[in-house]
Symmetry: C2
Subunit: 223 residues, 2 copies
Amino acid sequence: MIKIMALDVDGTITDQNRIICPEAITSIKKGIESGLQISLISGNVIPVMYGLKTFLGINAPVFGENGGIMYYNGSIEKFFDKTKPLEFLEYISSRSLATPYFTNQWRETSAAFSMDPGNEAIVSKEAEKWNLEIVNSKFTWHIMNPGQNKGYAVEILKKMFNANWDEILVVGDSDNDNAMFTLPVKKACPDNATDSLKSISDYVSPESYGYEIGDVMAKFNII
Amino acid sequence: MIKIMALDVDGTITDQNRIICPEAITSIKKGIESGLQISLISGNVIPVMYGLKTFLGINAPVFGENGGIMYYNGSIEKFFDKTKPLEFLEYISSRSLATPYFTNQWRETSAAFSMDPGNEAIVSKEAEKWNLEIVNSKFTWHIMNPGQNKGYAVEILKKMFNANWDEILVVGDSDNDNAMFTLPVKKACPDNATDSLKSISDYVSPESYGYEIGDVMAKFNII
């Protein structure tokens, strides 16, 4: 039986333009009413995740910066540091390889940027030299500390709610969801997910962009 | 003809528990598709308003801190300063009259707090001595600079979009919406609004907590 459902945000409960799917809100509400713990794990900043928790009525912790920071019960917990990601961002920006992203003012454990697709290989190689990771959430690029990923956040949820692996269901659509899809949890994705995620999912919904949430919950006997 | 619609958030597009009304999202989308500029004006902090703008697909500027700060086109503009509100908050907290609110870490032009209802009269009197205003958004109390209110934000929208007063429609439900309801604009409110707002509204919807948005738009021939 599923106890915890961890959802990505962009492209998973929103459309391509990041607008939230009204049906996903209704499905989330039903899931919580049926006793499920629902968490959001996103690359976005923690005040935005705090807002989403408030306005969607999310009951479990929410994670920002791909798992680097958590908001729950009125307090924030940081698991990583932003010093090195910011130094790296300064370095690649000074070489005109990247443009810092607007929301960095609210980031506390990582840094975000945009870049020309042609620079991806060189920036990736430089990040490796610095012992950092870069990951794409479709909307922006993120510079992460080693081990800072959505899988880290799912492990925190597992401990916090004393759950078995197979009592956890993750739903995501993009490369920055890969880390939580490699855990021995249950996995589902919308039809708009990457082929890589589809190939390792227990269930690929025929629905997309938030409309899959209710379908996935039905498939796993949650609602 | 209405060109600009300025919406309060809590209690106006959300329910009593602050959960966003799925039907309000659909109505907002229809309004924007029909050519309307839709703005949100809330007591909440600017990163949360940035999140709401993103996830609801809002097209006009969004305002936080009851009009003290604006996000639009990738940049933030501050119209007031938080120094004096924070000094006042420290003063009333030191006298055990108030408890600072969690989101103050993201506030840039005001301060928020909670208090025992019995302290309202004394805190209000102290604020007057300091030449500050306190206002209740139902969810928390806000310490504002003189002239910092939602009416100020509506005047900015008016200039920005070169609109006449009667081309602007405001919708709100609480005391911190009063300032925008005293302008010569069109006014509507949900059934859950205060009696004071209802008494000066051009239209009081029979619907509440976000379900009124579509009804109000129909009443003013927007959709």
